[in-house]
């Protein structure tokens, strides 16, 4: 069976209908979070570290944090929220009584996770533009990076969720996977100045490194050929994980 976009959009609309109910409460933290980070890290720590990577410390942080926001937006959606929809709300059982097929459910959920990543990442970007931390128009180049980050972390999160049997395990995903990524993906310090030799190659495996590097290039208004590798990594990893997820979802939902 092939994916049908209209049915995937119907799945997307279910989530959107629920989100619309609560969007005021949902969206406000998306604006507060970046402000808190920028104040604490940028003004606090930045008071001692005046320059990093050729810019102010707060300016150094800004592009990476846009990607983190996009990552978080997608990750919550494909872990806790999918678990609730699957096990408590029985949303997928309901969908599968209609012409919607398992692969449409997966596609709709990925689209929705990407949407959430755009809401998170987009709000963050708006805040840093308001703070004058995003050079315009160059930094607008970060806009396509946001949904790509959402797609990648939707794929990773779904693959993880499909292997998870209890809700408690999700906290491992956040504290043992996403938090280290957050700390070691070129966001708080330039990785290539602190690592050497094969450690730099190992770091290339970190999924968050790639969108952060692309975002930084956009903010600096200069692209290097590295952008092709970053793009290829993100698209290939997303595609592979989603292909696996598609097979697994089919089996899981129709057993």
């Amino acid at each position: 069976m092939t994916i049908s976009l209209p049915y995937a959009l119907a799945v997307w609309r279910r989530n959107a209908a629920m989100y619309r109910r609560t969007w005021m409460w949902n969206i406000l933290p998306n604006f507060f979070e970046p402000v808190l980070y920028l104040v604490a890290m940028g003004i606090g720590v930045g008071g001692y570290i005046t320059r990093m990577g050729g810019t102010s410390y707060i300016g150094f942080l800004a592009p990476g944090l846009v990607c983190v926001a996009a990552m978080n937006g997608a990750s919550f959606e494909v872990t806790y929220n999918i678990y609730v929809r699957l096990n408590f709300e029985k949303a997928y059982d309901a969908m599968l009584t209609t012409p919607i097929e398992p692969q449409d459910v997966l596609a709709g959920e990925v689209l929705w996770a990407v949407t959430r990543s755009c809401i998170y990442g987009g709000s963050f970007f708006i805040v840093i533009v308001c703070f004058g931390l995003a050079p315009l128009p160059a930094s607008l180049g970060v806009i396509p990076v946001i949904p790509l980050t959402g797609l990648l972390f939707a794929a990773i999160g779904i693959a993880f969720s499909l292997r998870v049997v209890t809700l408690d395990v999700f906290s491992f995903y956040f504290t043992l996977f996403l938090t280290p990524l957050f700390l070691f993906s070129d966001i708080f310090f330039p990785l290539n100045e602190r690592l050497s030799g094969y450690w730099l190659w190992v770091a290339e495996g970190l999924p968050l490194l790639h969108p952060v590097r692309m975002a930084r290039m956009a903010f600096h208004g200069q692209a290097s050929p590295m952008v092709f590798w970053d793009l290829a990594y993100m698209l290939a990893a997303s595609a592979l994980l989603l292909a696996w997820a598609r097979r697994t979802v089919q089996r899981r939902l129709t057993s």
């Binding site: 709300e89 949303a91 309901a94 012409p99």
Partner: protein, 316 residues
């Protein structure tokens, strides 16, 4: 035939949930699939609407092979699951709209259909209240409403009234009758035999993944038992004295001290018992035989287990 199931089996690892089952449902009737919990009713339904693939056998719905064209089949039927699948934060109207979109309904049809169903299911007074504030009866009606958004030719109801109070059950039955009268074929599962007897034109009795027998409720009763049933309290050792001088009844069922006797004419038997007891009035109930009796006779299983287990004796 709206549904044709041909020697379908479903195996889950070591367990054979459905065992070479065949059944047909003709257009326009209400068909009941009866059986205790774990008989394989829900698995059979899931295979009929194409969400579970059979291990063996074929299923055609509307003449279409479900295994190959599940989308096409599901576009024309509606399913109400055992467990409510409502979105609790949203109102009935919003729930209907979300479900309408699953069937790719667009405006203005989407709003029109939601309004029609709100009227049909008497939900008008609560149409815009979050579902979590509604009573169980309202929620169940809405759940059935969701499965009607696409004007299904076939409505599948998986234990539609489990856990509902009697008034709500009656109201739901009346809606199901309306639908059937309007030409919708209904396939329902239940373990309430009274529900099956009141709603269904034909029933199939399932146990351990197989259909034991199928037919109209009346035919099943006359084939397997007799028109009337007499229930009385009587210890096993009293049997001989009690039945002395009487033609042997066609069937008897004993559960503990409770004895049920099935016969074509209960009046003579009841009088005989009264004469035998000589004024020492024992509780004695004469009633029409129902599907529950047939079910017990066919499966040898009590629906609501009482620990002692039934014991049958047939004299034909």
């Amino acid at each position: 035939m709206i549904i044709e199931v041909e020697s379908v089996s479903k195996r889950f690892a070591e367990r054979l949930a459905v065992d070479a089952l065949s059944l047909t449902v003709e257009s326009g009737i209400c068909f009941g699939l009866l059986g205790p919990n774990g008989a394989g009713k829900t698995t059979t339904l899931r295979m009929i609407y194409g969400v579970t693939q059979p291990t063996a056998g074929t299923i055609r719905v509307f003449g279409i092979d479900v295994a190959r064209h599940a989308r096409a089949v599901r576009a024309r039927l509606g399913v109400t699951l055992q467990q409510n699948v409502l979105i609790e934060a949203l109102s009935p109207r919003e729930n209907l709209r979300v479900f309408g979109r699953y069937h790719l309904l667009r405006e203005p049809e989407l709003s029109r259909r939601a309004d029609e169903l709100i009227d049909f299911l008497d939900l008008r007074s609560h149409a815009n209240v979050p579902v979590k504030q509604l009573s169980g009866g309202f929620q169940r009606r809405l759940a059935i409403g969701l499965s009607l958004v696409n004007r299904p030719e076939l409505l599948v109801l998986d234990e539609p009234t489990t856990g509902l109070d009697p008034a709500v059950r009656l109201a739901l039955w009346s809606r199901v009758r309306d639908l059937r009268a309007a030409g919708t074929t209904v396939l329902l599962t239940t373990h309430y035999m009274d529900e099956a007897q009141r709603l269904c034109d034909r029933v199939a009795i399932m146990s351990a993944g197989k259909i034991i027998d199928a037919g109209t409720p009346a035919a099943l009763i006359t084939t397997h038992l007799a028109a009337e049933a007499v229930e009385l309290d009587c210890a096993p050792h009293e049997d001989a004295a009690l039945f002395d001088g009487l033609p042997v009844p066609r069937h008897r069922l004993r559960i503990g001290r409770r004895l049920t006797v099935y016969l074509d004419d209960a009046t003579a038997f009841a009088e005989h018992i009264r004469r035998h007891d000589r004024g020492d009035r024992r509780t004695l109930v004469v009633r029409p035989t129902n599907l529950e009796d047939v079910f017990l006779a066919l499966t040898g299983t009590a629906l609501e287990g009482d620990g002692s287990g039934p014991a049958w004796s047939d004299h034909e």
